[in-house]
């Protein structure tokens, strides 16, 4: 007696993709979502005249899975505005730059170029399917990315530049990340250039109507099979199936479960039997980044007339990164602002009015006094969101990948794992979320159709032996 073949925990992109795939194969699926909405770490907000994104928002070349899915769902994309000069603050002064590298002296510039090439070489050596088998994996995973950067970049300017990039990419400090995880992340995207680029890279395209529409379109055909406001409390596996208990309401019985929530939330679910020690240890070593994202609205994108792209960055300001986030038509003008890493937690605690004032101060410092004449403001503190507990996503603390990485995707009995952190390509991105949902659905379908043995446990086979 089952209520469903498969219960999916989490109606973010990963979970909804898994549900879509399994439904297409004729499986009865039920998606349980803690929030009162779908979309997970994607979130649209209406501002006067536009819909803007408060969560993950961009797609780009090489992200074939999400691009194909958008096509199937009838969702178009349009290019991120990327014309004109960028404003890069460095050493206390804002410079107009053709590229996103700050104005540095010749030594620091040469250092940036050398370190960038070294990073590219290191990233090419990463085995994205099994980063723990990469050359030097043990040594790289026993050091932070800050240590790696300081060994390769020898100038103060170069180091500060790479610290800024790290904060922008991971919403975390270089001193928190495993060097191996950082390089794995770049490698899974095809290289650091793809990660940091707008045109030609991960920030190239936006989704018509905002990125949350991806999840909404995925959820629509599932109808009442997506149950909102239903946090899962307990997952009990037995010989005959699995029982998923929400915090309140009736337990659901299924044959398999796919857990598609960020790592830090998995600790809030009681598993019976308990998760294997290797997975417990892994979950203790995947902290989340910290970011608050704000959108500021203007009557028009005044910066474009000044020959500016709307992109800005600083290593000193609360708002460390800005992009033009105006709708495809260009009106109203919208600037999307990021407060990341070290700065995010304290900033989030300020309260909406003071956050808005701080953001406008920083925008005025970048773009001049016109930036104060905003007509709308909206932000989201992902560090305070109880169903995210930090964004953009989780990263590997030192030692996590080499000691416990092999269990990242390995199913426990009847329990399968999805989510952008479990991807091989574009880990942490929308594309990685799609991949993970497809992969988990494939595992479950194989198990249900009898074409794959049920894995007994991820512990003995999956772990690296000492």
């Amino acid at each position: 007696m089952s209520d469903a073949d498969v219960v999916v925990v989490g109606a973010g992109v990963a979970g909804l993709v898994a549900a879509r795939e399994l439904t297409a194969r004729g499986r009865q699926v039920l998606v349980l979502e803690a929030r009162d909405r779908v979309g997970g770490r994607t979130l649209n907000a209406a501002v006067p005249g536009a819909t803007v994104e408060l969560g993950g928002q961009w797609v780009g070349p090489g992200q074939d899975r999400v691009l194909a899915l958008l096509g199937e769902l009838g969702l178009g994309t349009f290019p991120t505005y990327d014309s004109g000069r960028h404003l890069i603050e460095f050493g206390g002064r804002v410079h107009r730059r053709r590229d996103t590298v700050p104005r540095l002296g010749p030594l620091a510039l040469a250092d940036v170029a050398t370190t960038w090439r070294a990073l590219g070489r290191a990233v090419r050596r990463v085995d994205v399917e099994a980063p723990w088998h990469s050359p030097d994996a043990a040594a790289l995973d026993a050091q932070t990315f800050a240590t790696w950067l300081h060994r390769h970049s020898r100038t103060r300017g170069g180091r500060r530049f790479f610290h800024s990039i790290t904060r922008a990419v991971f919403a975390a400090e270089p001193g928190e990340l495993s060097a191996l995880w950082a390089q794995f992340y770049f490698a899974s995207a095809g290289g650091p250039g793809a990660v940091v680029s707008t045109t030609g890279g991960a920030q190239q395209e936006r989704i018509d109507g905002g990125s949350q529409r991806l999840a909404e379109r995925l959820a629509a055909p599932l109808g009442e099979r997506v149950v909102l406001g239903t946090p899962v409390r307990r997952i009990a596996v037995d010989d005959g199936g699995v029982t998923v208990h929400p915090r309140t309401g009736v337990a659901v019985r299924a044959r398999r479960v796919i857990v598609a929530v960020p790592p830090a939330l998995i600790g809030g679910v009681d598993f019976d039997p308990p998760l294997p020690p290797g997975r417990q240890a892994l979950l203790q070593r995947l902290p989340h980044g910290a970011v608050v994202k704000a959108n500021v609205v203007y009557d028009e994108p005044f910066w474009r007339r000044q020959g500016l792209s709307g992109q800005a960055a600083s290593e000193d300001r609360t708002v460390s990164m800005v992009f033009d986030n105006s709708p495809a038509g260009g009106t109203p003008g919208v600037l999307v602002c990021f407060v990341e890493g070290h700065a995010a937690t304290a900033f989030g605690a300020l309260g909406p009015a003071r956050r808005r004032a701080r953001v406008l101060d920083d925008l005025a410092a970048y773009f001049g006094p016109a930036a104060r004449r905003s007509t709308g403001y909206v932000d989201h503190d992902w560090t305070a969101d109880p169903w995210s507990r930090g964004c953009y996503g989780a990263f590997g603390a030192p030692g996590a990948l080499t000691r416990y990485g092999p269990v990242l995707r390995t199913p426990t009995a009847r329990v399968h794992w999805a989510g952008a952190e479990t991807a091989v390509r574009w880990v942490g991105y929308l594309d990685g979320a799609v991949e993970s949902g497809q992969r988990a659905a494939g595992e479950v379908e194989a198990a249900l159709s009898g074409s794959a043995p049920s894995p007994a446990t991820d512990l003995v086979s999956g772990l690296n032996q000492p």
Copy 2:
């Protein structure tokens, strides 16, 4: 209408000390414990002729709080057997040594001495009350202890020696720990010498009848105020007090709550309102070590007749550390064996029979064939214990202390924090657990008696500003 003035979550040493202190001041206290026993990470086991310890077991000079408490409770101590030669395996051969340093060449020995002195100097500079304010705190917390060791120790032998020590002290790999956390840990104990020493150090004394008796003696006068088998599911704070909901059974109403469980377990409790982002982030950055502990029983301590202390260590074996754990009278003979860090998770998964065989193999390699003639075996896999999720305790991943350390002990509204990881002196030890329980009780008593303002939140005031 309150069931108690204070609910304490967790009947380990920290929680029971807090309960004892508050009860002594006339407060009504209720202790809710998930396990069916008290003692947390201390655990006695009966073997033929003796009681042995499967968890934390030693006390030593300088641990004034726990020594005083043992005295008050009428519990005596006796010295850990520490006479004779130690067996140290290094480079594939077991050597009989007067000290616990392996047989190394002169270069490596000089390196060990130099690095040891450098570690001592670094440790003396740590501000144990606020390690994030120590000199070089930011740089130390942005690197792993492996990185620090490799910068200071220049020989292969020296590095391997310090890796072995780290594994023994933290049940974790040097590449997982923040260098600042490692040095804070040593500093909180008064220096690395105190941590690694038997006579004169943290392993000097054992507790009559086994260390779990400390918790049992603390719990006895509390009687039915200690409720076993009652995991806490939810802690809801309102203007009038706090409601603590167990997984099953009736919710308890109190004025304050003290949470005295290891960091990785806190994520399994729902807090309403949610814990502040800074604390969430901290909890994501305090992974637990990994250890399996075994006691092997013999008719007599045969090694003593051979001039051996029963202490053994190896950097290559599954059993990386052994101590004589015989009772005070010396009969039966007991060897206590540690499987730590990298090796523990896979070892724990082997199952009891294979674990025993592996341990006996290693003991025979250290002590000769007599070690195979055991009369009893008992072990405990702390990585698989759902109410510990790793031992000896939690450690700071890189970035944890400098970014989020200030909230480690700071109460959230009506919620106070205890546990060995929150101590200033002897963090991670029984003595630290006692200190933390006393400190939390003091906070609560001050709040209840109106002599201290209720802290609104730990977020704004506590966090380091960027």
